[in-house]
């Protein structure tokens, strides 16, 4: 294992000794794949036949007009098979798993999107599949759990710690140290030990490569700003990748502002100054932790952004000021989502809605000659329970209560 995978001071591979050969193998397979042009071709083929890449760019005609200012474009990762950018990463890692001759995949999931995507990929490639998911997230994302199980995956509800994403990651590692011989751990975001941040970014860079070409073709110029929500950072790294060489394009990462500043209230590692540098879950980055280095509870209306750490590459880009970080509050996020649904007929996932909220806040003060691009990382079908609660829909509540009555009666009769 070489001392590689650093982005300035961030990154690395802080892994249990038993996984060292596994990471060596993974890194070799990954590097070999990068050098083998046929691998990327196979990846493009599967993404354009099993999912619908290239995903389109949509212009938000109504909101552009209503808000005034910059013209708003959206990269439609929600149209991917399984409804989010997560598909890009899992299909890539799936191909790699096949190359490594492994027969089983495991994954952590927060919102359930990555879990569904991984279970889907496993069904497609014929792998066994176990998904670790915080018990708290299992409760708030049941529809996704249902589909994972339908795909044949085993979903393990993790009852340790805060019962969210970070705990699911720990449990996945615990599985991996027992089963590394036949198992690949499909990490779901641009975090974790090297080579994950770089590898996940590579697969997700398909977003940015497409988006840059599409914006150029459509408007003959690049967008002035590109917005992406940041959980672990994979969709952001994916779209930003397309624009790193374009100094005129400002990149904006939007984190979960939750209920506002202060420990336990949010999951903004870079936009707020509540996080400090630390090492956990195998890599060094900014974490929301106390002085001792114990991870703190985080909060977000969106399960997928509710995470203590952040991609080490984004920590580096934050420090080098190549990406600007902002945070959007729960309330603004739900409002931005509703605005998008009602005015454009698009249903951004709560995660993605963070990027929309920030873009809507900034667009009015920009020039009509400027374009902005929002990465719509996913759709909100999975969020129906959360959104119905956030907008406090009495009809939905009544529907659930009636359905429950039906089920309870069925049970007593049976």
């Amino acid at each position: 294992m070489k001392n590689s995978g650093y982005y300035s001071q961030f990154g690395g591979a802080f892994i249990p000794e038993i996984l060292v050969p596994t990471f060596d193998e993974l890194e070799s397979a990954y590097l070999a794949a990068r050098e083998d042009e046929s691998f990327w071709q196979e990846y493009l083929d599967i993404m354009s036949t099993y999912s619908c890449r290239a995903t389109p760019i949509s212009r938000l005609d109504n909101l552009t007009e209503q808000l005034g200012g910059a013209a708003i474009y959206v990269k439609r990762e929600d149209l991917n098979h399984t409804g989010a950018h997560k598909a890009n990463n899992v299909m890539g890692q799936g191909l790699l798993t096949k190359r490594m001759g492994k027969k089983r995949v495991i994954a952590e999931t927060g919102a359930g999107q990555h879990g569904v995507a991984t279970a889907t990929m496993a069904a497609k490639f014929g792998f066994d599949c176990t998904i670790y998911m915080g018990a708290h997230d299992v409760a708030r994302q049941r529809p996704n759990v249902f589909w994972m199980e339908q795909m044949g995956a085993t979903v393990v509800a993790v009852t340790e710690g805060s019962q969210t994403l970070k705990d699911a990651i720990n449990e996945a590692f615990r599985d991996w140290v027992s089963n590394m011989d036949d198992t690949h751990y499909v990490l779901g975001t641009a975090c974790g030990p090297h080579p994950f941040p770089e590898m996940v970014t590579w697969f997700q860079s398909i977003i940015g490569t497409e988006a840059r070409a599409q914006m150029l073709e459509r408007n003959g110029k690049l967008p002035a700003r590109v917005y992406a929500c940041v959980g672990g950072g994979s969709n952001a790294m994916g779209i930003f990748s397309g624009f790193f060489d374009d100094k005129e394009v400002e990149l904006v990462g939007v984190e979960a502002g939750g209920r506002g500043r202060g420990p336990g209230q949010h999951a903004a590692r870079l936009a707020y100054d509540d996080a400090t540098v630390g090492v956990a879950q195998g890599y060094k980055t900014y974490f929301l932790q106390d002085r001792d280095g114990q991870m703190q509870d985080t909060h977000s209306v969106s399960a997928g952004l509710d995470y203590v750490g952040v991609s080490p590459i984004l920590s580096y880009l934050h420090e080098s000021k190549q990406v600007r970080f902002e945070a959007a509050s729960d309330v603004d996020v739900v409002a931005a989502m509703q605005k998008t649904v009602r005015n454009e007929g698009l249903i951004p996932a709560l995660e993605s809605s963070h990027a929309f909220a920030q873009a809507y806040a900034e667009a009015p003060s920009m020039s009509p000659d400027e374009d902005i691009l929002i990465n719509m990382s996913g759709r909100a079908d999975k969020d129906i329970f959360t959104v119905a609660d956030a907008v406090d829909d009495p009809k939905w509540r009544q529907f659930i209560i009636d359905k429950a009555k039906e089920y309870s009666e069925g049970m007593t009769n049976a």
Partner: protein
């Protein structure tokens, strides 16, 4: 003899003169609380334990299984801090004449400052550290500080570790090598058999340091099996399990069954 002989290594070699196999146990500091931690260590030492691992609790103990994981979480919930862990450790090294090691995850060291952490270890009489998520390649600052302080950075051999890497780990270690008996996390059963014997011979051939074996050691039979093959048997999760099932007072009796 290799160049970096530490106090820990000497202590182990000395103890081995009298015993065919030594017993190292493991506790999580502050679990269930710091008073009980003290009492358990006292019982263990009285029962004949030769070395101890003191785990400073961490919120993300990635390499630990359910028993130690829960102990970490409970200790933190009970208010355990790194400072209190240091204080209790200091009292233990003062009161009991056996080598103590810290076991913890790298973020604990990192957040204290590596040098500050190592200096404090030295100051309070801790002889070595086991940091399961810190491979030597990531741990240059730590290794330098430990070696400079003549403390023992203990690395881990696993059944997956190739011979060449064992040598590399050994080169970066002092005091002893910790061999995990199987894949997986702490606290699950291990079948001590032929496979393990071969693995342990390989371990032995790649290092001059004393060997400790842990992960799944939990009975006199297990220890008997290891006798003659390695220097130290490590009983970890099992003591916590005994404590949880039968109370703090039961630990002494359990340890006595192991050493007689």
């Amino acid at each position: 003899m290799h160049e970096r002989v530490t106090a820990l290594e000497l202590a182990i070699k000395k103890a081995r003169e009298k015993k065919e196999i030594l017993l190292m146990t493991h506790i999580v500091l502050g679990y269930p609380n710091f008073d009980d931690s003290l009492r358990v260590v006292e019982d263990m030492v009285n029962a004949g334990v030769d070395l101890m691992e003191l785990q400073i609790p961490f919120s993300e103990p990635m390499a630990d299984g359910p028993v130690i994981l829960r102990a970490n979480a409970e200790a933190l919930k009970g208010g355990a801090t790194v400072e209190k862990s240091f204080e209790v450790a200091e009292r233990l090294t003062r009161e009991f004449d056996i080598p103590f090691l810290f076991m913890t995850y790298y973020n604990i060291l990192y957040c204290q400052g590596i040098n500050a952490f190592v200096d404090r270890c030295k100051a309070i009489g801790i002889q070595g550290c086991i940091v399961p998520d810190l491979p030597p390649s990531e741990g240059e600052e730590y290794l330098d500080a430990m070696h400079a302080a003549q403390l023992s950075p203990v690395h881990i051999f696993t059944p997956n570790t190739p011979e060449s890497r064992m040598r590399h780990l050994s080169d970066n270690s002092s005091g002893m090598i910790y061999c995990v008996a199987r894949k997986g996390v702490t606290g699950k059963d291990t079948a001590f058999s032929e496979d393990i014997t071969n693995y342990l011979s390989l371990c032995k051939s790649t290092t001059e340091l004393p060997l400790a074996v842990g992960f799944g050691v939990k009975s006199k039979e297990d220890i008997d099996y290891l006798r003659g093959k390695v220097d130290i048997a490590v009983v970890g999760s099992e003591t916590i399990r005994v404590m949880e099932q039968d109370g703090v007072g039961a630990v002494k009796g359990f340890i006595e069954t192991l050493v007689t």
